[in-house]
Amino acid sequence: MTRRYRDDPAAMQDGRNVNPGLGVLLGEGAQQQVKRVEEAFPAPGVTEVPPVHAVATAARPTYYGQPVLKAPVWIWTVPVYFYMEGLAGAAGALAGAVTLTGDEVLRPFVRRLRWVSVSCCAVSGGLLIADLGRPSRFLNMLRVFRPTSPMSMGAWMLAAISSFSGIAALLSDAPGALRRVGDAAGYAAAVVALPFTGYTAVLVNNTAVPVWQSTRRSLPFLFTASSMTSLSSLLQLTAHGAREQQIARRFGVAGRIAELVSSEAVERDARKVPEVARPLAEGRSGALWKAGKAMAVASLALSLLPARVKWARTASAVLGTAAALSTKLAVFQAGRVSSRNPHATFDMQRAGRGAAEVGHGSSNLVQLKVEGRLIPLDQAQGPTV
């Protein structure tokens, strides 16, 4: 006659907990898929905060130390993509340069570079898709052309360079006119490769993340140079002919020098606001950054040894690859740390490195000149420009 009752049915505990038999779910957020309700919660558990009143009076106030920005949601595939697309770009560029020599002896080298470029593009595409929240929608990357978005530009460049390098690679050894078509595609790929090689630096520069935004004048150099190092290291490990080795080595030595110089420049840019530079000096990102630099130095030193010292060549190549990966991982990680530190954002903007840096002065800044108490707007001396 009676049956047992079990409570708390696991079904429909999706944070809205609406019984579909009673209520209609048609709201904009109703389609938000929920596996764990805490997923979207931005705070890390019970917050260790000082008694609540102590926060607002601090000379450099924050909201209970909570981040002002959202941390980038990207996963490990993204820094690996930075490395991989850099390889693709550098290979495309070098392939173009070598093609231009018209030297038939170097033709296999050209073909190999084109294949390096196109396969790195393919892997890059895979890495990017792996990071997407909705991988099935990866083609939407080419839905619009948005010059304001480095990622949109990158997607188009990736599409272009994959296509051009692909055609060029396929037609590397084709006869007659087809080969000329292939070379033309190769040149086109090389032209696109010039910005493509380091564009991921612009991609991260064009964010609100303090350490990334602050290094916009130097990071593109670092990423481009690091990509050159990456390519030369890869070639040094795999290339065969002596001339090929030579080209790769010269390309790499220049890349390593540029990498070291530009990493100093990046640090200098970041250090203008101490809180901004912090992740390059501390923690996991700091360690990666320092390791990257050290390995780049070692790699450079080894690569300056005579070319016939084979172990040195190999070691230099391994260190160069590790340095490039480490540096890009460090930059990526530093950005995550930087976005979680509200002081980085606030200090930077108070120091005139917010909008003021691009020719604007916020009237809010006027009020920030006095700690604790505000200067009323009507008594302020006008905006600081």
Binding site: G27, V34, E38, H53, A56, T57, A71, T101, A190, L374
Partner: protein, 271 residues
């Protein structure tokens, strides 16, 4: 494009001096949009247990306990005041998320609001890092980026957003930008007249927030922006990106020079 559209620009004016911290806006937003809760965590941050606007919390009320007297108020417990502020997406004139979005999922609507199209977003996450206010966020389990829509669906039906409608004390008002601006200026003058000289408008026009331009959701505050977890001088990253593009151009050309030099020098040498 909005420039050719006759629809007036819409937005919120949030007057924090009349906010009672009831959080009706948070709930009304979740109710209308049918958003999930964010879990049940006691944070100890005064009466704020939702911490921040995020993927599933599009309105958020901040609670600030200050050992500072609020002008015009006498607290029998000494120098003290309790500030409340309902935060939301600013729908910036220069919106970082919009300019960063590579898929066109984020668009500028006819109301001048910034809208994420959930049927287009592929979850690249670029908008998340771009937003200078830390508003937009991606849910891992859903995969897409979400934020306040300014109740785009309601606006199309000639209704006001759920949060503004529900607000018991009209701390959140919704309307045409021109009306909101005059209302805000009037309120500011009124407060200054009453001796609340700390009061100022955040984001009402490009003077406050030149980096992002006018914020379609702007605020009347009585303490520094940081106290409410707002950036003092936010800037749309795109405004700074030209420097990066320039650097990239030089770097790219440099690489070309190195590549050419390497290629040609070796050929010369080996001859």
């Amino acid at each position: 494009m909005p420039a050719t559209d006759p629809t007036p620009r819409k937005g919120f004016f949030t007057d924090t001096t009349v906010c009672i911290g009831c959080k009706a806006c948070e709930v009304a937003c979740k109710q209308w949009n049918q958003l999930p809760d964010d879990g049940f965590v006691f944070t100890g941050m005064s009466y704020d247990n939702t911490c921040h606007v995020g993927a599933s919390t599009w309105r958020h009320v901040a609670f600030v306990e200050r050992p500072i007297r609020l002008q015009g108020q006498t607290a029998g417990i000494g120098d003290f005041s309790w500030l409340f502020m309902s935060d939301v997406c600013k729908h910036c004139e220069r919106a970082a998320c919009l300019e960063a979005c590579p898929t066109g999922a984020i668009i500028r609507t006819e109301f001048d609001s910034v809208y994420v199209q959930p049927d287009v977003c592929n979850g690249c996450g670029y908008c998340v890092a771009a937003c200078p206010f830390g508003v937009i966020d991606r849910r891992k389990d859903d995969g897409r980026a979400w934020k306040c829509t300014l109740c785009y669906d309601r606006l199309k039906g000639d209704m006001q957003p759920a949060c503004a409608k529900v607000c018991p004390t009209a701390s959140i008002t919704f309307g045409d930008q021109d009306e909101l601006r005059s209302k805000a200026e009037q309120r500011l003058a009124e407060l200054h007249g009453k001796g609340v000289t700390d009061a100022y408008l955040y984001g009402m026009d490009a003077e406050n927030t030149p980096g992002t331009g006018r914020l379609n959701a702007f605020f009347l505050l009585v303490d520094r922006p940081e106290v409410y977890n707002l950036p003092p001088d936010p800037v749309v990253p795109t405004k700074k990106a030209h420097a990066a593009w320039q650097a990239l151009a030089v770097a790219g050309l440099g690489m070309a020079a190195v590549a050419l030099t390497a290629a040609f020098s070796v050929r010369e040498a080996s001859r």
